[in-house]
């Protein structure tokens, strides 16, 4: 990992109009930097906007404000070849292994699609490249001409990884790549992702709700709540010295597979549910569930501030300790 920033998200906003209800601010002024070769974990509960952020980065959605800079250049200002080049460099691995492969294409076609779009390998070389990719993700050449429905969830996720790798990307946005898989299979896929990162110097933006898994692979972790990043720190700091009450609640809610530890643990159970993200008020988005909320939290929105070096928190009360 280097300190060179490869991908930067600046003040990004993505809003959706919800019929008859108002505006859903799925991503609300989010800024992030992804360093070359690093894994940045992005965690949060469903509806917090983490998937929307990931999809905006890979240009599935067009942002309403803000920028995404790849190697310092705004990706929405680029046209033609440069735009195509971006798609080659920044790839995505999707969540649902059952929906992310075209049911009508044999997997060699799916894996080869990127090669065709970018005109990268042709004829025999293309064929060989596909077999090489299959081997790279732990499948073999007999699999090349089968349809997705003939594979198990874990195998499909490997195919999705091979498709993303085919175009030799430098950044991969992983959108919950393991959450639909069984525990023993999750570890297989995670090891594969880690190995590939080391071999190919990839940078990952790793989107997940699984805080235990993300700890082991991330250099830094960002916690998202209702469209905003509430805390960002390097992985170990986040687990040991988190400052945002939401991070505390999130960490304390995760059960640990150890009955003795569970018995002794004191839990911080949040009351209530995630409020509707439509039409949020001016205050801190977490104020309605926060055990430490004061008047100031309901009136003004805390900015993401650097408390210690590399440790950012958006909380009015974090300074008080």
């Amino acid at each position: 990992m280097t300190d060179r920033v490869i991908l930067e998200v600046k003040d990004l906003c993505k809003h959706f109009a919800v019929k008859g209800k108002g505006v859903l601010r799925a991503v609300d002024h989010v800024s992030l930097q992804l360093h070359e070769g690093e894994t940045l974990g992005l965690v949060g509960e469903s509806g917090c906007g983490k998937t929307t952020l990931g999809r905006t980065i890979v240009k599935i959605y067009r942002p309403d404000a803000g920028q995404v800079l790849y190697e310092g250049r705004d990706i929405w200002q680029q046209k033609g070849r440069a735009d195509l080049e971006y798609h080659k460099n920044v790839q995505m691995i999707f969540q649902d292994p059952y929906a992310s492969l075209d049911p009508l294409s044999v997997i060699s076609t799916s894996i080869g699609e990127g090669l065709d779009i970018h005109g990268m390998y042709k004829g025999k070389a293309r064929h060989d490249r596909i077999l090489e990719l299959l081997q790279m993700v732990g499948l073999n050449k007999e699999h090349a001409n089968r349809f997705p429905h003939e594979f198990s969830g874990g195998q499909r996720q490997r195919i999705g990884i091979a498709r993303a790798l085919a175009v030799e990307p430098r950044v991969i946005v992983c959108d919950e790549p393991i959450s639909a898989l069984d525990v023993s299979i999750q570890a297989q896929v995670m090891n594969l992702l880690v190995r590939l990162q080391d071999e190919m110097k990839l940078s990952y933006l790793f989107i997940t709700h699984d805080l235990s898994m993300v700890r082991a692979i991330s250099n830094r972790i960002a916690v998202m709540y209702l469209g905003s990043i509430v805390e960002l720190a390097d992985a170990d700091t986040l687990y040991t010295h988190h400052l945002h009450p939401y991070t505390s609640a999130l960490l304390s809610a995760i059960p640990i597979p150890d009955p003795d530890v569970e018995e002794k643990r004191s839990r911080m159970i949040l009351s209530g549910d995630l409020p509707s993200p439509i039409g949020l008020g001016a205050g801190c988005p977490f104020a309605s569930r926060c055990p430490r909320a004061k008047d100031v939290c309901r009136q003004s929105r805390p900015m993401l501030t650097e408390m210690e070096k590399g440790h950012f928190v958006a909380c009015h009360r974090a300074k008080e300790g």
């Binding site: 023993s184 999750q186 570890a187 880690v194 235990s212 809610a253 569970e262 159970i269 949040l270």
Partner: protein, 341 residues
Amino acid sequence: MQHVLDVRDLAVSFFTYAGEVQAVRGVSWYLDSHETIAIVGESGCGKSVTIQTVMGLLQSPPGRVKAGSVLFDGREMLGLPARELRQMQGNRMSMIFQDPLSYLNPTMRVGEQIAESYILHNHVSRAEARQKVLDMMRLISFPEPERNMYVYPHQLSGGQRQRIMVAMALICGPEVLFADEPTTALDVTIQAQIIELMNELKEKVHTSIVLITHDLGVVANMAQRIYVMYAGQIVERGSARDIFYRPRHPYTWGLLASVPRLDQKQRRNFTFIPGTPPDLLSPPKGCAFAARCPYAMAACASFDPEEAAFEGDGHYARCFLYHKGAEAMLQKAQKERGIEA
């Protein structure tokens, strides 16, 4: 003492166009009153089919019970006439599901849905039922029950819907509550609420819980005894502490090792079980786990292992490692796992 629920040698198959899928292959377990047991396993291991059969919810065809018995309070449940079965379902035993939205009727107010089985089984008046629903909603600490009993499921959040499911399941005061992945579809902060709620209610309404899950963290939080299922069989069973601290079956080892723990710093290398579970269309000869087991022996490929007993409260594992003759491999395994003999 008689068990509340006693399942013996249950075998269930599905007959599909491709042939017979042996989903459950000779499973025995029991449940005592006031306890929570967990059946743990990965998708396709037969854990859900087992409880669907016990509940009398098995789709037949294609499913068929091939052998075994299910005793509820000493009474055989399999082959019970539909009418008698219905009197049990929702009344003496009930179930909550993974995805509450698909099990709630979108066109019915939640209050009515909670009341439905109570009215059905207890023949009470609407006013009585309404009172019971209010009590129930207060019991699950649902905010503003008087108002919220009149809302529709889509107006509620995922966690609230799961609470409604819990209220529906418990309104008749069932002796047994089956919970099929009750928290899997929920966010962690909501999951914590539901786990707490279920643990609390178990005491308040005196029910026993059969928890079906793949999440060992949830199990550690709720269950007193654990059954580990793999490829349609129970491979290890014992008290929660036996399973978590003194596991004996290589599959249990693999399962426990592959779960990353929040409280442990672990770096970039995950322990995993190689391969995939076998296809139950043609289950392998011998031990079903042999193909993925790092300690497989020649015997494992040809014979079905029997249960070996260990100290502790009913701790058994279905594995040849504990057979006399397999000492050499057992020592290797224990050394690698850092277990003292």
